[in-house]
Amino acid sequence: MSVSEPLLRVEDLRVEFPTEDGVVHAVDGITYQVHRGRTLGIVGESGSGKTVSSLTTLGLTRRQGARISGRILFDGKDLVTLPEDELRTIRGNEIAMIFQDPLSSLHPLYKVGRQLTEAVRAHRDVSKAQARERAVELLGLVGIPDPARRVDAYPHEFSGGQRQRAMIAMALANEPKLLIADEPTTALDVTVQAQILALMERLQRELEMAIVIITHDLGVVAEMADDIAVMYAGRIVETASAARLFAAPEHPYTWGLLKSIPRLDAPRDVDLVPIPGTPPSLISPPSGCHFHPRCPYVQPDHTRIDPALEPLADEPSHYAACLLESDVRKRLWGELGAGKTPEEALVEVGLPAPGAPA
């Protein structure tokens, strides 16, 4: 297998849930790839489909009655069509996942050690004693002090950070090729967050894992990710290398995300700008560009035309799904960077404000 072949390649993945109120288009045709040893950050608000897409990678949305189409190519196998029992041998073995809330993600009535050993024994034919040895080793690896004793503790006897470490230990039990981390630090204190991220980076180097990190926190992806995909309403609206995305973002939604986080390197009098409105319904999404009801730069035909995710002319690895011309977007971002409001920026580039007669 050539070096450039991605470990995970998701192609036009769609996940729909039929409900009483209508069909929820949770993931609406997304494409991305992750290479060995690299980290992809998937960023978006709650309900943007980022968690559903990764649960689908593990086949965990199947039993929820999801309708799944597209392809998820992992190591040459299509996980969308793979039979359940084959998929099970991949879960927790070649692809592992950690979740947002480590307390509720650990079984409250089983010792941590048992929950680790069962992860080992699900995929390896080893004795209980060997599995236990491995559990102690894993707890030590993720930095739990006195692992030989702590292996017999219950999850409620661990601190929040230790629980997430235990979850990571569990995920690493079989040295997976891919680790999916769904909001791994959201439920933790800021200082513990940094420790957990550092731990994940260290283990990634040691084990040469690929990581998909799902978060709403741009700070986390800035620290961890090589590449970033921004999701909105079940779609990827922009994707680029992390450096490029932070330096020259091209989608108004990404601008909104960047402008709504505080920065230490900006003057103190720069106001934070929240994105107005709420995430759209995934049952009947807005017409045209799904972001148009919340976009400060919306133009009349944007309510009709649905933009495709297209590569930029000057940087083919940078994709954006926006109906504005690329050079207009660059100028708008420049004006915003100079401290202008969206309304002022529109005037500068010579576009009518939303709602103005065309």
């Binding site: 593990l58 592992a96 699900a122």
Partner: protein, 319 residues
């Protein structure tokens, strides 16, 4: 833990004394409350009533009678003597308890096994035909009075009055040590009848409890680990049984005090029937003894449930 148990036992004894006092008072307030009157025959002379009252100790103040009773109970474990048969209440209970014990334990095993398995299947196949049939059946069993169900069983299967004479009918109970096989066959119908209603409750409880736990995050984790579905379900069941344990302990506690209706229908010489007869005939010492026994079982069951909880859920700690 030990201190906790001792404290609970002491509180239990206090509750027993209160229960005793209440039974004492209630029995005297009732219009038919004077046992001497009942024993003296038709149109008794005042003198005879007084004499009987003297023999039974009923002429002493209530508080003294109560004190005497408590003293006998706690010092000699003596529960007094039946007003009618003069038999010691303690030996009367000892004689009746094995039947009630046999009935309750067998029925409990049956309803736990039956109810929980049906509940698990229903929870895992929610809205399937199996689920609908079992939940419908559970509703029927819940609504049916157990004495009626008992008669239906007798009319169907009893070897004397039944349509299909395959099982011993009413009044065929013998002690376990006397003839184990006869004991077993005689109890099959009573067990089923007594278990039916509870099994229905457990099935419904287990269905909703397991339905809830199977949606928990840790079940998702178990699946994400690549565990087999059977192992995943086992983790769900383990978490789902905890709330049901409480009910189980209390229910067994109550039934050990006597399952009156089922004992009566199948003519099983148990505590329930004895208690019922004693109430009818104002046989106060027997009533007092059986009530005391029943409340002891309930108090004990409560303590056992709480201790079991500490073992079943490591998050629970008593101090």
């Amino acid at each position: 833990m030990i201190r906790y148990i001792i404290r609970r036992l002491l509180i239990g004894i206090v509750i027993l004394v209160v229960v005793c006092a209440l039974t004492f008072v209630f029995f005297r307030i009732l219009p038919t409350g004077n046992p001497a009157l009942l024993r003296a025959g038709r149109d008794p002379q005042k003198r005879l009533i007084k004499e009987i009252e003297g023999v039974l100790g009923l002429n002493k103040p209530l508080i003294v009678q109560f004190w005497d009773y408590m003293k006998e109970f706690f010092l000699h474990f003596n529960l007094g003597y039946s007003y009618y048969s003069q038999e010691s209440v303690r030996s009367l209970i000892a004689e009746r308890l094995p039947a009630t014990l046999s009935l309750t334990v067998g029925a409990a095993a049956l309803w736990v096994l039956g109810g929980l398995s049906v509940g698990i299947i229903s929870a895992l196949r929610r809205h399937s035909l199996v689920d609908r049939l079992s939940m419908g059946g559970a509703l029927v069993l819940l609504s049916v009075p157990e004495f009626w169900l008992g008669f239906v069983f007798l009319l169907l299967f009893a070897n004397d009055i039944g349509k299909f004479k395959i099982l011993p009918g009413a009044g065929s109970y013998v002690g376990l040590t006397y003839d184990p096989w006869k004991w077993f066959t005689a109890l099959i119908m009573p067990w089923i009848v007594l278990a039916a209603g509870s099994a229905a409750i457990y099935a419904r409880l287990m269905r909703s409890s397991l339905g809830e736990t199977m949606r928990e995050d840790y079940i998702r984790t178990a699946r994400a680990k690549g565990l087999r579905e059977r192992a995943v379900i086992r983790q769900g069941v383990r978490a789902a049984v905890n709330p049901i344990i409480t009910l189980f302990g209390l229910e067994v506690g109550v039934l050990l005090g006597g399952a009156v209706l089922v004992e009566a229908v199948f003519n099983i010489p148990g505590i329930g029937v004895e208690n019922y007869k004693a109430i009818q005939s104002s046989d106060f010492p027997v009533v007092q003894g059986t009530v005391l026994l029943a409340s002891s079982f309930i108090i004990l069951a409560n303590i056992v449930v709480d201790i079991a909880y500490a073992y079943l859920d490591p998050r629970v700690r008593y101090s």
